[in-house]
């Protein structure tokens, strides 16, 4: 009896000691916090995730184990999303900034979703900032002031270095996309002094890096549309199955009507998908066009830079809108966004022309014409209009000062045609090699022929030339 009492007391004592020394379970808090967030209970999720963070602040990959299942620990991500759900953008932003500093989530499966959340937070924070009144009494929604006093009002620097850069081959013409019509007239191009040019190039490089985030060609909008299409197809199959089981004509008619509605929905999705693809390709073209600006046009006007940043913001907004299409299935939104972007873009380019026409040193008329023509050739090439680009090159004699760029364009066009012809025309390859070799010898900077502007194949070919 006594022994039994001692035994049980020992067990109870051990339990009490162990319980007292037991620490909080960050895994449990984290998993439950995530579960609460999935059930839209953001307030409870915040409490649990903060508790987990307090116990284990650092994110880690594969460090949560449930039996044989391993999962990552990103408390700041889910905490940020919980704050986002409650419109507490500053706190969400702080969480996302912490994540960015850790540099782990960018390599995870959550990278895309995280990037999108970041963008949403930044957009909301920007929207909350007081707007500078537009000059000349012509306010434009969301546009920064163009008076030049102060830094551009476009998006503050997005922190993520992240995701992937679109490296679509320029050799591949955008088949599904309607060609972009450029209203840009041949314009006299200015020249710049070297210092300012370098400064601008640096700025454009920064902007380009941001553009790398916008992967419209494989964007979430298309994925969303495809998912929607699959769902509709499933619904159609279900409806057809039910119909087959029906006995009465009345019920059969009802299901026929239901089926018809679903088919209509499917067609709508198909159309949306086409438009989304076009939008993706078109936005890719625009981006390529922008990419050509630093090398094709020498800009020296702060207002122009500001416009450039504004357009960039519009592109970012476009991506947000496309993402919303994925969530809300609003078919009109994508078209609307692209329309607005096109308007802004060409408006910007048209207004850019006079700014560009202020030469620091007067070029000859022939130089101006040649430069503008060459610029058009590059624009056509970057838009995938290879034949048009070739005609421009063939019809424009090389002006000595710009001969390297002329040779380069002719070389890349030859290489593109060689690739599109199935890599069989050795003469084209030989011509491409010759032009590109000469272009390099004539002074094309090495950092111009990079994957930023050209396909990896071409860059590799170029670098391999002796």
């Amino acid at each position: 009896m006594m022994n039994s009492c001692v035994r049980y007391l020992s067990v109870i004592g051990t339990i009490v000691i162990l319980s007292a020394s037991a620490r909080g379970d960050w895994t449990q808090d984290y998993l439950q916090g995530v579960a609460r967030l999935e059930r839209k209970d953001a307030a409870a999720a915040i409490e649990l995730l903060q508790s987990a963070l307090k116990q284990k602040p650092a994110s880690c990959k594969g460090c949560i184990r449930e039996g044989m299942y391993f999962s990552d620990y990103y408390p700041n991500y889910y905490l940020g999303r919980a704050f986002l759900a409650l419109s507490r953008y500053e706190e969400a932003d702080a969480c996302f900034q912490s994540l960015l500093r850790e540099g782990l989530i960018q390599k995870s499966e959550l990278a895309g979703a995280f990037d999108e959340s970041c963008r949403l937070v930044r957009r909301e924070l920007e929207a909350r900032k007081p707007r500078t009144p537009a000059p000349e009494g012509k306010p434009r929604d969301g546009r920064p002031a163009a008076d030049g006093d102060g830094p551009p009002q476009a998006a503050p620097p997005l922190p993520a270095p992240p995701v992937k850069v679109d490296k679509r081959d320029p050799e591949t013409p955008p088949g599904a996309a309607a060609p972009v019509k450029t209203p840009l007239e041949p314009a006299p191009a200015p020249t710049l002094d070297a210092g300012l040019r370098a400064d601008l190039l640096q700025q454009f490089a920064t902007v380009e890096k941001r553009f790398g985030e916008l992967d419209f060609s494989r964007g979430p909008a298309i994925d969303g549309a495809l998912a929607m299409k699959r769902e509709l197809q499933r619904q159609i199959q279900d409806a057809a199955d039910i119909r087959d089981r029906l006995k009465t004509g009345q019920d059969a008619r009802e299901f026929e009507e239901s089926l018809e509605r679903l088919r209509t929905g499917l067609e709508q999705v198909g159309r949306f998908l086409d438009r989304a693809r076009s939008a993706a390709v078109e936005s890719g073209n625009l981006r390529r066009h922008f990419a050509s600006l630093p090398e094709g046009v020498f800009l020296d006007n702060p207002s122009f830079r500001q416009e450039y940043l504004f357009i960039r913001t519009r592109l970012e907004n476009l991506q947000g809108q496309l993402a919303r299409v994925q969530d809300t299935r609003e078919l009109a939104t994508a078209e609307e966004a692209m329309g607005a972007l096109r308007t802004d873009f060409w408006d910007f380019m048209a207004r850019a022309k006079p700014l560009l026409g202020q030469p620091a040193a007067a070029p000859t008329a022939a130089q101006v014409r040649h430069r503008a023509r060459l610029l058009e050739g590059y624009a056509a090439y970057f838009q995938g209009k290879l034949e048009e680009a070739r005609q421009i090159v063939d019809s424009t004699p090389p002006e000595p000062a710009l001969r390297p760029f002329w040779l380069l364009l002719r070389g890349v066009l030859a290489y593109s045609r060689y690739q599109l012809g199935g890599s069989r025309d050795a003469a084209l390859l030989e011509a491409a090699g010759q032009d590109l070799r000469q272009a390099r010898q004539a002074g094309i900077p090495d950092d111009f022929v990079t994957e930023k502007y050209f396909s990896p194949k071409l860059v590799k070919f170029y670098q391999g030339l002796r």
């Binding site: 162990l18 037991a22 594969g62 184990r65």
Partner: protein, 494 residues
């Protein structure tokens, strides 16, 4: 005269054999209840949790219990599951054993100087494939408190059994005529049924890092057709005395009972790297033990006379199923690596079947031997698991374990019929598997071996109530048991 003398010697020797061969009654009196004991003893009696993952770790899982088999080890572990899961465990087992007993009795002058050799050779084996665990687990939330519930079916022990063996009894010599007789019995036994548990379990969080759980088990024990078929082959005695020239016997034994038990479990996460667990299994007493026994026997003697026996017995009474408990610790120095240690104990000395109506008896359960002397059993298990993961979330584990298990009682007794220390069998396990996305597959191989020996020569002074004649008894007894199991688990996560 010779005949009378020889008969008295044989009677004397037979009486001694009966007295000192407690493990086996006289060959003709073999009781199927003895064979009921073989269903449980010798490493087969292993009422622990289920699952190839756990068994791959040697069965050290009380403080781990983090998959869909959790409740069978520690219901508190259920709280570690965050998604609905279903699981299925298939078990293939093959048990074999070999008993060899040589016991020689030598009577001393001035009585007879006769001697006898009693020899048993018992080779049994059992193998079967069965689904021994199925569960469905679902986490739910009630008033902001999270619970995880599980329904499961668990075949704790499979009775399927098949044995073939023979027993031989030689009266070697009784002066002056040399060997009297050799009696050989060929036997076959079989059984079916098992111990099944239908369980509802629930796990939840009790506090910071502390999880608790409980299970309610409906336990159903059913032993069907424990059958022994016996046929004798007898060499006539050299002295021409009357002997039993033909003998057959068929015995059949069935019993069943059921009851409710509960399990209570606790799991403490004391540190990120250390977790401890404890579990208590309740017993029960119910008045629904029901047995039926029959024996049909025909014997013909050399003088042309014969005897038949057609005996039926049945009874009802109370069953007492004992309680048990276990402790475990798990150490996780890094996320993919786990080392676990368990100790559990079952109070089998308290297991009892008391039949009070019909043909009554009171014996210890589960062995149901007439001379019940079964002990509490302890089990010590240690295991480890390392999981290799790839970038695309494929997980491949390697597992190993070692365990030691006390047996219910020693097969042999010493020269004066006293218990020998309870044998401890030991074994190892190896396991692996593959987990990808929502699918988990585990496989484990378990091997347990045990051996018991009794060797020696003892002199008895007599005066024991059977014979006043001093005699010498030599033992050369050995028992070997091998149990091989192959378990396959499939767990699907939703």
């Amino acid at each position: 005269m010779h005949a009378n003398h020889a008969t008295s010697i044989r009677s004397c020797l037979a009486a001694l054999l009966l007295l000192f061969s407690a493990g086996l009654a006289a060959a003709q009196g073999v009781s199927p209840i003895n064979y009921n004991s073989s269903l449980f003893n010798r490493g087969a009696f292993n009422l622990q949790g289920q699952g190839a993952r756990a068994m791959g770790m040697g069965g050290a899982f009380i403080a781990v219990a983090d998959d869909a088999t959790a409740a069978s080890w520690n219901p508190a572990g259920l709280d570690q599951l965050t998604r609905p899961e279903i699981s299925l465990v298939v078990n293939r087992f093959a048990r074999s054993y070999h008993t060899y007993q040589d016991e020689t009795l030598a009577m001393e002058p001035p009585a007879t100087g006769g001697s006898a050799l009693l020899r048993y050779n018992d080779e049994g084996q059992a193998d079967a494939t069965n689904i021994n665990f199925f569960s469905t687990t679902y986490p739910l939330e009630i008033k902001n408190h999270r619970f995880v519930v599980q329904f499961s079916y668990n075949r704790l022990l499979h009775f399927t059994n098949s044995e073939e063996f023979w027993e031989q009894q030689n009266i070697l010599s009784a002066p002056p005529d040399g060997p009297f007789s050799t009696e050989r019995y060929n036997l076959f036994s079989s059984a079916d049924g098992g111990i099944d548990a239908y369980t509802f379990s629930l796990g939840t969080t009790a506090g910071r890092g502390v999880r608790v759980g409980a299970s309610l088990n409906y336990l159903k024990v059913e032993a069907r057709d424990i059958t022994v078929t016996d046929a004798a082959s007898v060499t006539p005695p050299t002295d021409g005395s009357i002997y039993q020239e033909f003998f057959t016997q068929v015995e059949n034994f069935n019993y069943d009972f059921s009851g409710f038990t509960f399990d209570l479990g606790v799991l403490w996460k004391i540190h990120d790297m250390f977790q401890a667990g404890a579990v208590y299994h309740s017993g029960f007493s119910r008045n629904n033990f029901d047995y039926r026994y029959s024996i049909k026997e025909f014997a013909r003697r050399s003088d042309g006379t014969s005897t038949t026996l057609d005996f039926n017995a049945s009874g009802q009474g109370e069953i007492h199923w004992p309680n048990g408990y276990g402790f475990g610790a798990a150490f996780k120095p890094i996320t993919p690596f786990t080392v676990a240690l368990d100790y559990s104990r079952s109070n089998w000395s308290e297991g009892k079947a008391t039949v009070t109506t019909g043909n009554t008896f009171e014996r210890q359960y589960p062995l149901l031997l007439p001379d019940s002397r079964q002990k509490d059993t302890g089990s010590l298990r240690v295991g480890a698991e390392y999981v290799f993961t790839t970038a695309n979330r494929l997980a491949i584990p390697l597992r190993g374990g070692f365990f030691r298990e006390d047996q219910l009682q020693n097969f042999f007794q010493n020269e004066v019929g006293e218990d020998l220390p309870t044998p401890v069998y030991q074994g190892f396990s190896l396991g692996s598997g593959l987990t990808y996305k929502f699918f988990e597959f585990d496989i484990a191989y378990v091997r347990m071996v045990g051996s018991e020996d009794l060797l020696g020569t003892y002199r008895f002074e007599g005066g024991d109530g059977v014979s006043a004649t001093p005699y010498t008894k030599s033992f050369s007894n050995n028992y070997d048991s091998r149990l091989n199991r192959l378990l396959v688990s499939i767990i699907i996560r939703f």
